[in-house]
Symmetry: C2
Subunit: 426 residues, 2 copies
């Protein structure tokens, strides 16, 4: 008997009809002989509704009270799924964050899971009861409701899976797996049978929004095997054990999958793109020690995440242009902070550009294979796509390009790395 955690998002929980579909999927998993815990999101739109109430009540809202309000959405769906499972003849009960409890640390509205006492939960599961757990919520050490930040239900599911020693954490979502790239851009994108945690982190952090990034990091840390699969399945679909989702696993398990011949080894696993960054150029910054610190310290203190950084040699000696990217949503705030530091930094002009995109090729295979970056640069150059900046990690090469060339670049690279499906039907 395997222990399985199943997680369903807001679209799957939007109304009692859809909850009944979810209940049937859950019942089938249990009927296959598994011990099952389910983590649920609020009904689609409900969290937005509750967040808006909070904003109307108090523009500068107290995150502790915000958590009281917004956590109610998952409380409702957890109770309703338990009721629906009962109507199908299953034993089921809801376990709220403070009941288990799921102890969290750090701030309200962006709490992190500390410890989960799952002993009572496991005892109930072992006795054949399906545990239904509202995602997104926990409880603080002073016994108040906390929430994990938007999208936190994925993290809840992985944390519960770690706490109960689950064999697998199945994330049911709007897509049916992780693809080599966005299938809306590349028709020949292929669904991946498996990716490593590291690859998924890089893919997630650059715009392949299948899973909340934090949940992937937690899965890696805790060694939780995660499967991404479609919630659009029906009674006749195969059970989750046979569904063609994407497994997110350790490198060791990935090696095993490759050895078993279940997958072909690729240097590049996937191509991701991200249009949510903006570029900032500070011109004619004095080229002296400490100047760069004056730029990036205030941004770090304001929790603005700086990504790519390039220093260009300036026209004049002793001066340089500094280019970097920040999330578009932080652009105005970053600009204001830099203006405050104008005299300390000593730059001439601030130039900003939101019309950029970051294209990344990701793959554990590139660790042991040279030439991945060269292939990228040549493929883009051949199509006249100008590279404005480059960053690399052990398993990723990213370039900044003009936003208008995003789709072209993704298609060119998908073909260049041999990722295109061999026929249209794949």
């Amino acid at each position: 008997m395997a222990r399985i955690v199943m997680k369903f998002g807001g679209t799957s929980m939007a109304g009692t009809e859809r909850i009944r579909r979810v209940a049937n999927i859950v019942r089938r998993q249990q009927a296959a002989g598994d011990s099952v815990a389910v983590v649920v999101s609020a009904m689609a739109g409900e969290t937005d509704r509750l967040v808006n109430f909070c904003r109307e009540a108090n523009a500068m809202y107290d995150p502790a009270e915000y958590d009281v309000v917004v956590a109610s959405g998952e409380q409702v769906t957890s109770g309703l799924l338990a009721l629906t499972l009962q109507s199908l003849g299953c034993k089921a009960r809801s376990w709220l964050g403070w009941q288990m409890p799921i102890a969290t640390i750090e701030a309200h509205a962006k709490a992190r899971v500390d410890t989960i006492d799952a002993s009572a939960l496991v005892a109930a599961m072992d006795a054949g009861e399906i545990a239904v757990i509202p995602g997104f919520q926990g409880v603080s050490s002073d016994w108040r409701i906390t929430t994990l930040g938007r999208g936190g239900s994925d993290t809840s599911a992985v944390a519960v899976a770690a706490a109960i020693g689950a064999d697998r954490c199945d994330i049911y979502t709007d897509v049916d797996g992780v693809y080599t790239t966005d299938p809306r851009i590349v028709a020949k994108a292929r669904k991946l049978k498996a990716v490593t945690y590291e690859e998924m982190l890089e893919l997630a952090s650059v715009g392949a929004k299948v899973l909340q990034t934090r949940s992937v990091g937690l899965a890696m840390k805790e060694g939780v095997r995660v499967q991404v699969l479609s919630s659009f399945i029906d009674e006749d679909s195969p059970s989750a054990d046979d569904l063609p989702g994407t497994m997110i696993v350790s490198e060791a398990e990935m090696e095993q999958i490759l050895e078993d011949g279940e997958m072909e080894r690729q240097h590049v696993t996937g191509i991701a793109h991200d249009k949510n960054e903006a570029k900032i150029i500070l011109t004619r910054v004095p080229d002296k020690p400490g100047a760069v610190a004056h730029i990036f310290e205030p941004l770090a203190n304001a929790s603005i995440n700086v990504d790519m950084i390039i220093q260009n040699v300036g026209r004049d000696k002793g001066e340089t242009d500094v280019t970097f990217t920040v999330p578009q949503t932080d652009l105005a705030r970053a600009q204001a902070l830099l203006e405050d530091q104008r005299s300390a930094i000593g730059f001439n002009r601030i130039i900003t550009d939101s019309k950029i995109a970051k294209i990344s090729v990701v793959g554990v295979g590139m660790k042991s294979h040279a030439g991945v970056a060269a292939t990228m640069f040549k493929a883009l150059a051949d199509r006249g796509i100008n590279i404005q900046a480059i960053t690399t990690s052990e398993i990723k090469v990213s370039v900044m390009i003009d936003e208008d060339e995003t789709e072209l670049a993704v298609r060119v690279l998908h073909t260049a790395y041999g990722l295109d499906a061999s026929d249209e039907a794949a």
Copy 2:
């Protein structure tokens, strides 16, 4: 510094605009120098929405999961009121049922408050923080959410008032007090300055739906001074201490109010009517020991509340007609149960009639004054209103009449007992 509990219903909490009005009323009470706890209902319509979700999920719903779902409505409004109070510059926080905790006993969905540990709450209130408490909810001994039954927020407010030793529990409601009778029927109905717990219980139980009956019983048991007053007040209204609501108090305090000349002593305090009962007549029941038990035992076992009972002498010797009333909502169930017992009871026919009304005159004053019932019967007879049944208690005389004569009877009695306001403006 007085300790005041303020309770606001669903109409007052329906949306962030209205919650802001409530917050202003609460702030003013605190500004008057009081230590304040607020008990809130869910937004109007929200509990119905949640109950419907439960019914859709599972027609025979598990009350423990039902409680998880429906308790969320008050959780949301308590957080939002705390946020709104903070936006007005007040210190405020929400205290959920399991946080205080409000320990309850007996069944889910109809739990009863057992004990409230208010020590942390009182400490926070004494430090100037406004305590916001979701009504309707508590926690069971096995640490699950419970609810007190529809309208339970009144009971929550009184229970909290008892636990913190409040000087007064102000129930803000759609009406501005308790009247001598329904002002929609009698234009000259007068608002009462005060009624005793016993009178309020009788008035509430026969249809004057200002307060949940159970909350009045609890207030009487715990000696909580309750004030009913209008939530339709604005910034310019006098504070609750000077508002002309209705106080619900002990007989001792009522004596004091009368001695102080603040009220005129009346034999009858109010006239109530109730159209929600139905009459059942079982004809030709054998007049032998045990026959009546066969009728009422199954009804009692099914928790069907039998009110008035009359045995008429039948046409034939040794047989009798038995007439009694049950709530209209239980009529079909009662009929089915009685049919099951037909052979055991030995009746001839079941005749039912929903077109009846119960009219009650209520007053502590009638304890020491004879002739109240005689006045009632004469006044009704003078207008040709036929009395089908009579019941009495120490402070109440009730008659069953044809439903169509309800309004006429109420007006006739209101005048007969000298309750009409002396001028139109009163």
